[in-house]
Amino acid sequence: MSESDREKTVQPDVFTAFIQEKSTQVFAALGVGFVCIVIGLPLWWKTTEVYRVPLPYQEISTLTRAQVTCYVDFTLVVFNEDIQKPALANFGENLKAEFENLKSKLDALQIDYRGQIRYRNEEEATIFSKAASKDDLDDSLADGDSHPQHGHVYFMLVPEDNELKIQNTWIGRRRNIFIPINEHFDKAMPVIVHVLKDIVVNEVTLMKTFYTAKGLILTKADKESMRSLGSHPGYDVTFTLLNPEPQVLSVDWDIKSAIQEYMSPMLDAFAQFAEITVKSQYLHFTDLGVSPVKDVKSPGFKLKQDQLPHIINPIEAYLNSHVSINPNINFVLYITPRNHYPLKIYDNSDELSPSNCFLSPRWGGIMIYNIPTPENVSLPAEVKLDMKSIMEVFLSQLRLLLGLNPLNHFDVMIHQPGRAVISDWELDQWLRKRTLENIATSTSTLRSLAQLLGEISNIVIKDDIAREVERAVSSVSKAQMYLQQSRLREAFVFARQALLSSEKAFFDPSLLELLYFPEDQKFAIYIPLFLPISIPVILSVIKSIKYLTRKEKHKIE
């Protein structure tokens, strides 16, 4: 057989074999490509993916935009029986219209007033006729069955010629406001509006607190908001007796019973809402951080107001608590050493401070206590401090630090809470303020968190963070709901929970774990693997697809 013959006989076989071979190769290439691209890539993507639990972004943005409405309920109780029903109804309508007029519609925070008006009932009438004094009347009315919960105030419209001599508007230490009226009782309307808006609710402060916490307006911080401590689940109050010279004066204070006596009503009032712990300590041989100057006008030494900020630095190390994350409120009683006796505080205009104490915003208070060194006594002389004057100063400072306003309204008489430190209606005000502050803070925290997590795709979002975020979101909505129902206690509890959860989610250390492993570095590591593998796979897949399409064309032709 010649060469050409063989070629002729073999040629068709080779050709069909070649075609079969070619299609096998094409399918093999496509198979590899399929495995790599359809299975391999998603598998790699899935396995190297950062674990992120979906968060309720939609709800968070709704919460941020939503208007918070706070309802304040009040009841007008009329004790004058000679006032006719139609007049009373008319009065109520007018009052409603008045509040409606004063309402601003555009704000993110809306404070609404809901009032009802009624004649006194039998029980109230008996209490009123039997009351021995104003305080007694206040207490008995508040303890009565018809006067419930937090957040509700009662205006007692009492006859002008009452036996208890209530001549002016008087705010008791419970939730009762007494307004003496005669037959021209329309005059009481501006008083009611003023008392409600400016004293009982204190709208200006409430708005300021809310907007500051929300971060909506950058107003220059005012004295009041700088001074008081923000909303926290608890506060640690520490009383410190600073005795720089125990070899001269052995000073003793009975702080245990003083706290029992002066602070327990306040601690009881706050017990449900904030965990306040009270501790005390002595510190010896610690000086103030500044040296007082000799007073030229009178014997003694003076501390100027601009020196005061430096005073606390040396003792700061002894005051911190290692066990609590709650803010510490420090009250320091400084016993003047012998060589600076007597020591007085002067303000910037060189006026003597009458109480010889000062308040450090968000930190606490310092009181300077001058004790003369007794003559002809073997040293150290023993001194026992009278706690009444000291506690009075510290408690008034505590009120300011907790964010309670000083009670000085010239037109209305207000019962000073005294030892109780806080009146019931003030507690309501405090609760309302804290609730709104917590709602605002937690929504803005949630918003920041959502924004942060949306921007940085590398952050791991663990299940517990998602759980905290969800809890915060639901607590905020619940708190808002209760605010609308004017149920302050529940609203406060949920707002606090929202704050805690949102802060916990925001400051969770697990959020930081992958932050420093950026995308480009990840790919730099994968390139030695991906580049040499992907090029032949992709090229052969393209080639195979081209081949297949050409074959299809041939078939059609």
């Binding site: 245990k256 712990t277 501790k279 004790i371 693997l529 593998i533």
Partner: protein, 621 residues
């Protein structure tokens, strides 16, 4: 102004202070050692009549430091012993210390029986204490924390009788101790470093010494001096100790010492808060005859006490109050009559040393020698060792052998093998739990006991290596607990009635001594830390190459290729080059040369083709 002052005077009622329920005792013990060193031990004891059962427990502080008290209350700590030590206590040269401590940091704590999660409480405790004392106690995590069964018993009244689930022990031999740890320690003193004996704690001098150790020891004690078991009312006791060993011979060639020379400070006042402020100087003459040094000022009295062996020892006692005030300062100075004679030190009856054995980076061993030099007495001890999880302990290699005390014990020496009657062993778990061994033993008189075991070094994950990994890894000191040996030469609790000291009463019902041996430095195989990226790159390249060839084999077929029909890139390139080259040469040279060149190239080409035709070249289709 006078008005205010007078009001304040009126308000402050002068009354005697009654119901003092806490007190502070300051003590300083000085013992000149045989070889010219001076051992100094400060002890500040705050005793407070309060207990956990009382309301307002740890809320209103007077002498007890509030920061520490809050921590102890919060985490239910019943007993706490913290020591931070720079240097190693030389047992053979320096005799027994009043407060033993291993090099670095050591912390052990007993928790109250109501503590729900002891591990959690311990974790919080170490983190808070590490912040408080500026030490890296936070490294005392679960992987190197153990719960000893016999070695660390409660030293005070305990609510649970010492069940080991309520104790946690950890030690960090690598911890460097310096001024930053001393300052917070000083802040816990009621008089600080401003007054009283605390004035002498001058960091400049303390950390220039051969040994320096600070300690904080908290426990509950019986309020009425009854024994631990019959205790009904308890008080809390905080003992802050500071031990230093100075070497005055180094700086001045004489053995003389004084406060001024040792501390660069003198005592000029007494802490007004302290009930008593005493200084004791051991003036016992080791040789017969005259005392070898004289003290100035002279002590107000000299107490004599007896050691358990019946030897009389003298203590010069100074009540600081009688020596200071009104421009008087106290600077106790010792003047030696003769120069120091260096003699071989007389080692104490019980001592111990620890060594590392073996070579290479795979296996190794630990060897501990415990000496009982008493000619007659059998001494019970508990040996305790913790090995980090990356040194895998083989318990089957554990051997205990006795040798005569004067013998040089080498690794290969064979002695009398004994089987320990009891053994408490906790196997380690990688990254989680350290290997822990506790062996109670009886040491026969006049013997050295050799405890040895082997370990295997494990590999760490590359992120687990500390900075400077080539420095090595420290292994804790072995702890040998024994009842106070009979040659104890320091004052002890039986003598407290003589000197009214609380310093020597710390042993409670059972007086024990803990000997801490040397710590070990073990080298682990350490990788090159740039390795991970190299490994990733190399592995990826190998995989890529392998994948490439397999991919080629599966998706391509190799067939015979005829270059006549299909011209490859190589041939096309050749033709192109030839064309360019030929054009150039034709323009430059005459026709003949051109012809020649063509002939040569043609020849080569045909030869090449012929070869291809014959052999058949493998070509990509």
């Amino acid at each position: 102004m006078t008005g205010i002052v007078s009001i304040l005077i009126l308000l402050s009622v002068f009354l005697p202070v009654f119901c003092v329920d806490d007190g502070l005792k300051e003590e300083l013990y000085i013992k000149p050692l045989q070889n010219g060193h001076v051992y100094i031990h400060f002890q500040f004891t705050t005793l407070w009549n309060t207990s956990r059962d009382e309301p307002n427990f740890f809320e209103h502080f007077h002498l007890f430091p509030k920061p520490l008290g809050e921590v102890l209350k919060m985490w239910g700590v019943e007993e706490l012993h913290l020591s931070l030590t720079q240097g190693l206590w030389r047992w053979d040269k320096w005799d027994y210390p009043l407060q033993e401590a291993p090099p670095g940091a050591e912390l052990w704590a007993w928790f109250h029986k109501d503590t729900l999660d002891v591990d959690e409480a311990w974790k919080n405790l170490i983190n808070i204490l590490s912040g408080m004392f500026c030490a890296s106690l936070n490294f005392m995590d679960a992987a190197n924390t153990v719960a000893p069964k016999w070695s660390f018993r409660p030293e005070g009244v305990s609510s649970h009788g010492g069940f080991k689930q309520f104790i946690r022990y950890a030690s960090l031999p690598r911890e460097m101790v310096c001024t930053e740890n001393l300052t917070p320690w000083k802040k816990l003193l009621p008089c600080g470093a401003r007054s009283g004996l605390g004035v002498l704690s001058n960091a400049m001098k303390l950390y220039d010494a051969s040994y320096s150790s600070i300690g904080v020891h908290f426990r509950s004690v019986c309020r009425d001096n009854s024994t631990l078991s019959t205790c009904t009312k308890t008080s809390v006791e905080l003992r802050q100790t500071l031990s230093i060993v100075f070497e005055p011979v180094l700086s001045s060639k004489t053995q003389d010492w004084s406060f001024k020379r040792l501390f660069n400070r003198m005592l000029n006042n007494v802490c007004p808060l302290a009930e008593s402020s005493n200084i004791y100087v051991d003036t016992t003459n080791e040789r017969v005859g005259e005392p070898s040094f004289s003290l100035s000022p002279e002590a107000e009295r000299v107490e004599t006490f007896q050691t358990p062996t019946g030897q009389d020892r003298q203590l010069a006692v100074y009540n600081v109050e009688n020596y200071v005030g009104y421009n008087r300062v106290l600077n106790i100075a010792a003047k030696y009559r003769t120069n120091l004679e260096y003699k071989p030190p007389v080692p104490p009856m019980v001592s111990a040393h620890q060594f590392q054995t073996g070579y290479g980076q795979e296996k190794g061993g630990v060897l501990c020698l415990i000496y009982n030099r008493s000619p007659t007495q059998t001494i019970p001890v508990v040996y305790m060792q913790t090995l980090p999880w990356f040194l895998r302990l083989y318990v089957h290699t554990l051997t205990v052998e006795h040798f005569p005390v004067d013998m040089h014990v080498s690794v290969s020496a064979k002695g009398n093998v004994t089987r320990p009657s009891n053994l408490y062993y906790v196997p380690g778990r990688d990254h989680q739990q350290a290997y822990f061994l506790e062996i109670p033993l009886w040491l026969p008189p006049g013997t050295v006991t050799r405890i040895s075991f082997q370990f295997e070094r494990a590999l760490l994950k590359w992120t687990e290596y500390p900075p400077d990994a080539n420095h090595g890894f420290y292994v804790n000191s072995a702890v040998i607990t024994t009842p106070v040996p009979p040659d104890w030469s320091l004052p002890r609790f039986t003598e407290i009635k003589a000197v009214k000291s609380s310093m020597f009463s710390r042993f409670g019902d059972l007086a024990v001594l803990r000997i801490h041996t040397e710590h070990l430095l073990v080298l682990l195989p350490t990788p090159d830390f740039s390795m991970p990226y190299n490994v990733i790159c190399l592995a990826c390249t190998v995989i890529a190459i392998a994948f490439g060839s397999i991919h080629n084999l599966t998706t391509r077929r190799f067939v015979i290729y005829d270059p006549k029909i299909h011209k490859g890139i190589k041939d096309k390139l050749k033709a192109l080059l030839r064309r360019v080259f030929c054009k150039k040469s034709s323009s430059l040279d005459d026709g003949k040369k051109d012809q020649d060149a063509r002939g040569i190239s043609h020849h080569v080409r045909s030869d090449d083709e012929a070869f291809v035709e014959k052999s058949g070249q493998l070509k990509d289709s």
